[in-house]
C-alpha cells in the first residue's frame, strides 16, 4: 500500500481502468447509466459494486432512483451532497480497497471525482447467543464477525464519551481493521502505548481471527499460563474496560481480546458479574480449590501409593494395595495412561457433533471405565483420582487455564513418579516461581496476590461491593493503574 496511483479522472477513463482492474473478479457489477435530463439529453452515471457485498436493493432505491429523480428535475447531481457517508476518492488503491469491502463506487459525468457510497450489505450473522461463555444470569448477547456490529454493542452498553475506540489496520495483502477499546481515566497511557506498539509490530499478510494476535499481545509467547483474556461477550468486555483493561476487537472475529489479564481473571465466570457477592466469593474459592486439585491430584496419589504409604492409615493402605493386586502397570504409568485416555475422550467429545459428543462421554466414562476396572487393567482408586481431576479441570471457567493445568499436571506427575512427594513439591515450587515471574503487558501476573494489593484482591475474590464506586464518587484506581508501581523496569 505504499505506492499510491492517482485515479485516471474522467468517468470513461475510470470505467476503463476499473474494468481492466476487476476483469477476473467474479461478481463485479458495472452499471453505466444514462440519466434523462429535462432538456432531452442524458447524463452518464457510473455505479460499480460487488454482487452480494453491497445491497442491490439499496443501490437501486437510495442511489439510482434518487439520481433519476434529480436528473429528471434538472437538479445538479452532486453525489457528495446528495447522499450521506460519501467520500471522495483520490487513488486507485483506496478505490479498490473500498470496493472489495462492499462499498459502492459512483461517478457522475462531468464531475472529475469518483466517490465511495456506503451502501454495503456484507453477509453476516445476527447477534447470537453466547456459546462458550454461557451463564444463568446476565445478558444473552455475543459478538459476531461484523466489527461494526460489535462496536455498536459496546457503545450501547457504554454510551457517552468514556468509551474510546481507536482504529488501526493490520495485514499487508488483506488489511483487517483492528479496534483498541478502552475507558477514559481507567487505564494508563503506558498500557495504551504498549498495546499500540505490539499491534504495530505484527507483520502478516492477513488475519482471520483475533486469536492470531493474542500471541503478539502476550509478554512471553511460549508461556503455558494464558495472559490474554478472550471473550465472546460484550458485557464482559465492558466490565473489564471499566476495570482499566484494554479491549482489542477485530473485523471477522467474534471474540474480543482483553489485556492485561492476570492469573485470578481466569477464575471469573460470566455469572460472577451479576450473582450475589458472597456466593460469587464462594464459587471463586471453589474454582481455586479445583485448580489446585486439577494439577497435583494424580501426582499426589502416585507419590503416596508408591513412596509414602506410611502417610495413610493401615486400613486404607490395605484396601489400596488389595485394589492394585493384579493391575499390570505400576502406579506412575497407570496414572499417565489413564490421564492420556481421559484427554483422548475429552478431545473426541469436543470434536464430534453435539448430538454424538455426550454419547462418547457416556461410553468412555462409564462403560470403558467400568470394563477397565472389572478386567483388572486399572484400579478403582485410580479411576476415582482421574475422574476427580477431570471434574476439577472442567470446573475452571477458562479453557486456556484448564489447558495450562493439563500441561503442568503431566510435568508434576513425571516428577512425582520419580521422586515422590519431593518431586511433587519441586514441581509445585517451579509453577509458583513461573507465576511469580510472569507478567501481562508488564503487570505482575500473580497480582493482586503477590505482589499483594489488598483492595484489588477483594475485587478479584468477589468480596468487594459492585459497582466499585458509589454515585458521584471518584473511581478507585484500577489494578492496571496500581500495578504501574510494580511494572518491572526493563533491562
Amino acid at each position: 500500500m505504499a505506492h499510491k496511483t492517482p485515479l485516471p479522472g474522467t468517468l470513461q477513463e475510470n470505467l476503463r481502468w476499473l474494468k481492466k482492474a476487476l476483469g477476473n473478479h467474479r461478481g463485479a457489477i458495472f452499471r453505466d447509466l444514462a440519466m434523462p435530463t429535462p432538456g432531452g439529453g442524458t447524463t452518464q452515471v457510473l455505479v460499480v459494486y460487488f454482487e452480494a457485498q453491497a445491497s442491490a436493493q439499496r443501490v437501486e432505491f437510495h442511489l439510482v432512483r434518487t439520481l433519476l429523480e434529480r436528473a429528471s428535475r434538472g437538479a445538479p447531481l452532486n453525489l457528495d451532497v446528495m447522499l450521506p457517508a460519501t467520500i471522495e476518492l483520490k487513488t486507485r488503491e483506496e478505490a479498490l480497497e473500498y470496493l472489495f469491502r462492499g462499498k459502492v463506487l459512483a461517478q457522475v459525468e462531468g464531475d472529475p471525482s469518483l466517490y465511495v457510497v456506503e451502501l454495503s450489505d456484507m453477509p453476516h450473522r445476527d447477534i447470537p447467543v453466547p456459546e462458550t461463555e454461557t451463564g444463568i444470569t446476565g445478558p444473552r448477547e455475543a459478538f459476531t464477525e461484523l466489527l461494526v456490529m460489535n462496536l455498536t454493542q459496546l457503545r450501547r452498553r457504554l454510551p457517552g464519551t468514556a468509551l474510546h475506540l481507536e482504529s488501526t489496520w493490520i495485514g499487508d495483502q488483506a488489511p483487517v481493521e483492528v479496534v483498541i477499546a478502552y475507558a477514559e481515566g481507567r487505564t494508563t497511557e503506558r498500557m495504551l502505548s504498549e498495546v499500540r506498539r505490539r499491534l504495530g509490530k505484527i507483520k502478516v499478510d492477513g488475519l482471520q481471527d483475533s486469536g492470531q494476535i493474542a500471541e503478539a499481545l502476550s509478554d512471553r509467547a511460549l508461556s503455558l499460563f494464558p495472559t490474554v483474556l478472550i471473550t465472546e461477550r460484550p458485557d464482559t468486555v465492558i466490565h473489564y474496560l471499566m476495570a482499566g483493561r484494554v479491549g482489542v476487537l477485530m473485523e471477522n472475529a467474534p471474540r474480543a481480546l482483553i489485556v492485561p489479564a492476570v492469573f485470578l481473571d481466569f477464575f471469573v465466570s460470566v455469572d460472577d458479574f451479576y450473582e450475589w457477592r458472597p456466593y460469587v466469593a464462594f464459587l471463586r474459592f471453589l474454582r481455586f480449590i479445583a485448580f489446585n486439585i486439577a494439577i497435583p491430584l494424580p501426582a499426589l496419589y502416585v507419590s503416596v501409593t508408591t513412596y509414602h504409604l506410611q502417610a495413610l492409615p493401615t486400613e486404607l493402605t490395605t484396601s489400596l494395595l488389595a485394589q492394585r493386586e493384579g493391575v499390570p502397570l505400576p502406579a506412575p504409568i497407570e496414572a499417565t495412561v489413564m490421564t492420556i485416555i481421559f484427554e483422548i475422550l475429552r478431545e473426541a467429545g469436543v470434536r464430534l457433533p453435539r448430538s454424538i459428543g455426550p454419547t462418547v462421554s457416556i461410553v468412555g466414562g462409564l462403560v470403558i471405565g467400568d470394563a477397565a476396572i472389572r478386567s483388572g487393567i486399572t484400579s478403582p482408586a485410580m479411576v476415582l483420582v482421574v475422574s476427580a481431576t477431570a471434574v476439577a479441570t472442567f470446573s475452571l471457567p477458562s479453557t486456556t487455564l484448564a489447558n495450562a493445568a493439563t500441561y503442568y499436571r503431566y510435568g508434576v506427575l513425571a516428577l512425582a513418579s520419580a521422586f515422590g512427594i519431593f518431586g511433587l513439591l519441586i514441581g509445585y515450587l517451579a509453577v509458583l516461581a513461573n507465576l511469580a515471574h510472569m507478567t501481562s503487558l508488564g503487570v505482575p501476573y500473580a497480582s493482586p496476590l503477590f505482589p499483594f494489593m489488598g483492595k484489588h484482591l477483594a475485587t478479584a475474590l468477589g468480596t468487594k461491593k459492585r459497582p466499585p464506586e458509589g454515585p458521584g464518587a471518584r473511581p478507585a484506581p484500577s489494578l492496571v493503574q496500581t500495578a504501574e508501581n510494580y511494572t518491572e523496569p526493563k533491562e
Partner: protein, 373 residues
C-alpha cells in the same frame, strides 16, 4: 547493575522468609546441644544485638543507596574492604552448602531413603536455579506467597502438637549457669547473622520505599527470633532437652505426633512442604546474591544464567563431598559457619557503620542531600 526493584514489604518478608528456616528446622539440634534446657533463651538474648545489627544495615543502606556491601566495602575500608567483601561473598555461598547438605540429609533420613542425595540435590538446585535466574522480583513475589502459608502451617503444627508438650520441662532456668546460655546465644547470633543478605539486596529496594525498609527488617528480625524460640521451646517441652538434643531433626518430630482423623496417619508430608518451600526461596535469594556479589567483586559481568548454573552445581558437589561424615559437617557448622555468620552479620556491620560515621560519611551524605535539596 541489574535493575531489580522490590518494595519494603517484600524486602522485610524476604528477610523473614530466608532466615527463619535455620532457627526452626536446620540448626535446632545445634542449639539444643549447646544450650541444653536453656537453649530456647538464645533467641531473646540475641535480640538486642540483632536490633543493633539491623539498625546498622539501615544506616549503611542510607549512606550507600543503591549499592551492595560488596560495592561499598572498598570505599569504607580500602584494600581491606576487598578482603572483607570476599568473606561476605564466600559466606553467601556457604549458606547454600549448609542448607542443601542438611536438606538432603533430612530427605534421605525421613522421606526418600532409597534415592541418592546427590540426585535430589541436583534436582532441587536446578529448581532453585530456575527461580534465581528469574530475578529478585520473582523471588520476592514467590516469598510473598510461601511465607504466609509456611507461617500458618507452622502455627497449626505448634498448636496441634500441644497435647504432647509439657512446658514445665523448660524449668528450672540457668540450672547449669550462664555457660550453656552464652554458647547457645552465640549460635543464635549466627542465625540472626544470616540476615546479612539484606546488605546485598537492600540496594534493590525501590527508592521511595527505602525509608520504610528499616522497620520491615526489624519486624523480620522479630519473626526470626520467634521462629527460633518457639520451635526450640516446643522441642524441649515435647521431648525434654536430652532426647531432643540427641535427635537430628527434633522439630520434625512435632509433625509425627499429629494425625488428620482417619485419613492421614502422619502429617510429615506437610513437613516436607515446610522445609522444601522455606529452603527454596532462601537458596534462590542467596544464590542470586552470590552471583551478584561475585560479579561486583571481580568487576566482571558474567551472565547470571551461566554463573548461577555453575554455582548451583558447585553447591551440590561441595555439599556431597566436602563433608565425608555428619560429624565433620556438624563441626563445620558449630565452629565455623554459625560463628562466621555471627561475626559477618551481627558484629561487623555495626563496626562498619561506626567507621563510616567516624570518617564523616554520614555527614557528607547528609550534606550532599541538603545541598541537593
Amino acid at each position: 547493575m541489574q535493575r531489580w526493584e522490590i518494595s519494603s514489604t517484600q524486602a522485610g518478608m524476604l528477610a523473614a522468609g530466608v532466615v527463619a528456616l535455620t532457627g526452626h528446622a536446620l540448626a535446632v539440634t545445634y542449639f539444643l546441644q549447646a544450650g541444653g534446657r536453656d537453649a530456647w533463651l538464645s533467641g531473646p538474648l540475641a535480640l538486642p544485638l540483632g536490633l543493633i545489627a539491623i539498625w546498622s544495615y539501615s544506616y549503611l543502606g542510607r549512606l550507600f543507596p543503591g549499592k551492595t556491601i560488596v560495592e561499598y566495602l572498598p570505599k569504607l575500608l580500602g584494600y581491606l574492604g576487598y578482603v572483607v567483601a570476599v568473606l561476605y561473598v564466600v559466606f553467601l555461598f556457604a549458606v547454600l552448602v549448609f542448607t542443601i547438605r542438611l536438606t538432603m540429609d533430612w530427605l534421605v533420613d525421613s522421606i526418600l531413603p532409597e534415592t541418592p542425595s546427590w540426585v535430589m540435590g541436583f534436582l532441587y538446585m536446578a529448581s532453585v536455579y530456575y527461580l534465581a535466574v528469574l530475578g529478585l522480583d520473582a523471588i520476592a513475589r514467590t516469598n510473598q506467597f510461601t511465607l504466609p502459608l509456611l507461617t500458618v502451617l507452622g502455627i497449626f503444627i505448634s498448636v496441634a502438637s500441644m497435647q504432647a508438650k509439657d512446658y514445665r520441662l523448660l524449668l528450672p532456668m540457668f540450672e547449669k549457669g550462664l555457660g550453656p546460655v552464652f554458647s547457645t546465644t552465640l549460635l543464635g547470633l549466627g542465625n540472626v547473622g544470616e540476615l546479612l543478605v539484606i546488605l546485598m539486596y537492600n540496594a534493590y529496594v525501590a527508592p521511595g520505599d527505602r525509608k520504610k525498609s528499616g522497620k520491615a527488617y526489624a519486624l523480620a528480625l522479630l519473626y526470626a527470633i520467634t521462629t527460633l524460640t518457639g520451635p526450640l521451646a516446643g522441642s524441649i517441652a515435647a521431648l525434654g532437652y536430652r532426647v531432643a538434643g540427641n535427635m537430628t531433626y527434633p522439630t520434625f518430630q512435632h509433625w509425627l505426633t499429629v494425625t488428620f482423623a482417619r485419613f492421614f496417619e502422619r502429617t510429615d508430608l506437610l513437613a516436607a512442604h515446610q522445609w522444601l518451600a522455606g529452603a527454596y526461596v532462601r537458596c534462590a535469594l542467596y544464590l542470586l546474591m552470590f552471583g551478584t556479589g561475585f560479579n561486583q567483586l571481580l568487576r566482571v559481568k558474567f551472565r547470571h544464567t551461566y554463573l548461577l548454573a555453575g554455582a548451583a552445581l558447585a553447591v551440590v558437589i561441595l555439599s556431597e563431598i566436602a563433608f565425608p561424615t555428619r560429624t565433620v559437617f556438624d563441626e563445620w557448622v558449630t565452629r565455623m559457619y554459625l560463628p562466621a555468620s555471627a561475626v559477618l552479620g551481627v558484629v561487623l556491620p555495626p563496626l562498619l557503620a561506626a567507621v563510616a560515621w567516624a570518617r564523616g560519611m554520614g555527614r557528607k551524605a547528609q550534606g550532599a542531600k541538603t545541598h541537593g535539596a
